[in-house]
């Protein structure tokens, strides 16, 4: 194995390896969590966040517009405070509603933003006023049973 042949093969090897890494990074995976851009922070308080986790996506009209940065418990108001990073390219009015939704029937939870009609735009550090908590299965079931019971009683 001549010296130059050896170098050639090693070069091919390294190039192929790096190419594989690049393919995995760009074609196979998505770069969204690498934060390719500026973001601004928005807060929202919820009665119940359900199964929402940090780094969950924030979508509006089904398109990802940001990521949940952190979740903390507000001990005075007994509500959950969710801090979100929204992409700087998207602007939302001050009366935007944040709801916690589930993707699919049993999928992971995300925050959905519905824009309102206010003229004023949210700035970094603002808190959303309108929120809708996650749907908790037990409450749904007990509500259903209660409705069923209420239906049955007056009919007698």
């Amino acid at each position: 194995m001549g010296r130059s042949m050896l170098d050639l093969w090693v070069g091919i090897f390294v190039v192929a390896g790096v190419a594989a890494l690049v393919i995995l990074a760009f074609k196979v995976g998505n770069m969204s969590s690498l934060g390719s851009g500026e973001t601004y922070e928005i807060n929202a308080n919820f009665d119940n966040i359900g199964g929402l986790k940090p780094r969950a996506s924030i979508k509006s009209a089904g398109v990802v517009v940001g990521r949940v940065k952190s979740i903390s418990f507000n001990n005075e108001r007994f509500m959950a405070k969710v801090t979100m990073d929204i992409d700087a390219g998207y602007k939302f009015p001050k009366d935007t509603t944040a709801s916690i939704l589930t993707s699919g029937l049993l999928g992971e939870q995300y925050v959905g933003l519905d824009g309102g009609g206010d003229d004023q735009i949210l700035k970094g550090g603002d808190t959303l006023r309108l929120t809708q908590s996650a749907v908790v299965l037990e409450k749904l079931i007990s509500q259903f049973l209660f409705d069923k019971a209420a239906e049955g009683a007056p009919a007698k």
């Binding site: 050896l6 192929a16 990074a25 196979v28 995976g29 969590s33």
Partner: protein, 264 residues
């Protein structure tokens, strides 16, 4: 009066102490290797030469195995996903399994058996034929000249090989899933793209393969360097390399996975 089982207990204790001492020696050995790496970086030709023997010569087995593993994943994955009507998620299944786990782990196991055992045998034989002593007598530090270049070559090769394994595997899954079985090509790639996250999955996979590379190369080089200079000694060392490396890879995989993938 000594109990009948005392000799057994004594030998277990003795071998336990021996193993701890050996681990200490191994740690000192790797410390020396890294400390004496100056020559390797000043003369990259040394590392390049070893890259050929550890990396390039492992290419065939890695690429072919990757292809087959991916193809099997495609087949098996399809079987299972059809029962839930989720064939379009085949791309996700194949890509995540490979990038997170199978790529780094299987590539590491193959690397240990092919390149690791070769390194052990080579260094063990150099020791047995007094080549290392000859080098010492010529005032050339064998650790700097022989061991360190192999260490860095192994550490560099491992992540590259694991990435190539994963890439070939995804291609294999594509061939079986889309081309042969007929899963929709668009949803194969698009669902995969949205589910595989670069930081979470790809980077973690690379970190894993890097850690495996260090572990395997360390074990291979140490076993070779410490082998008794006889035929049985070298053959025993080669076997130990493969066994210890494989166990280390699987153990480290569990530890790393539990750190990286909790709460997802």
């Amino acid at each position: 009066m000594a109990h009948r089982s005392l000799p057994t207990i004594r030998s277990i204790g003795a071998s336990a102490i021996d193993n701890v001492m050996r681990l200490g020696y191994a740690t000192r050995f790797i410390g020396l290797t890294i400390a004496h790496s100056g020559t390797s970086f000043a003369r990259p030709g040394l590392i390049i030469r070893e890259l050929y023997f550890t990396g390039v010569l492992s290419l065939i087995i890695i690429l072919v195995s990757g292809l087959f593993v991916g193809m099997v994943l495609g087949l098996q994955g399809y079987q299972t996903l059809t029962t839930y009507g989720s064939e379009s998620a085949l791309g996700v299944l194949v890509a995540l399994s490979l990038v997170r786990e199978l790529g780094p782990v299987v590539a590491a196991l193959l690397f240990a058996s092919r390149a690791g055992s070769a390194m052990t045998a080579e260094i063990g034989l150099m020791k047995a034929t007094e080549q290392l002593s000859a080098m010492e007598m010529m005032a050339v530090d064998p650790i700097a000249r022989v061991v360190a270049p192999r260490f860095w070559a192994g550490v560099i090769s491992m992540p590259l090989l694991a990435a190539m394994f994963s890439a070939m595997g995804i291609f294999g899954g594509y061939i079986v899933g889309v081309v042969l079985i007929g899963v929709d090509e668009g949803s194969f790639w698009s669902q995969m793209q949205s589910a595989v996250d670069v930081r979470e999955d790809v980077v973690n996979g690379v970190i894993k393969s890097f850690v495996f590379g260090v572990a395997i190369t360390w074990i291979s080089l140490f076993e070779g360097y410490d082998a008794p200079p006889t035929a049985e000694g070298v053959s025993g060392a080669t076997t130990r390399t493969v066994v210890t490396s494989s166990l280390a890879v699987l153990g480290l995989d569990f530890i790393l996975t539990s750190f990286m993938f909790r709460g997802i």
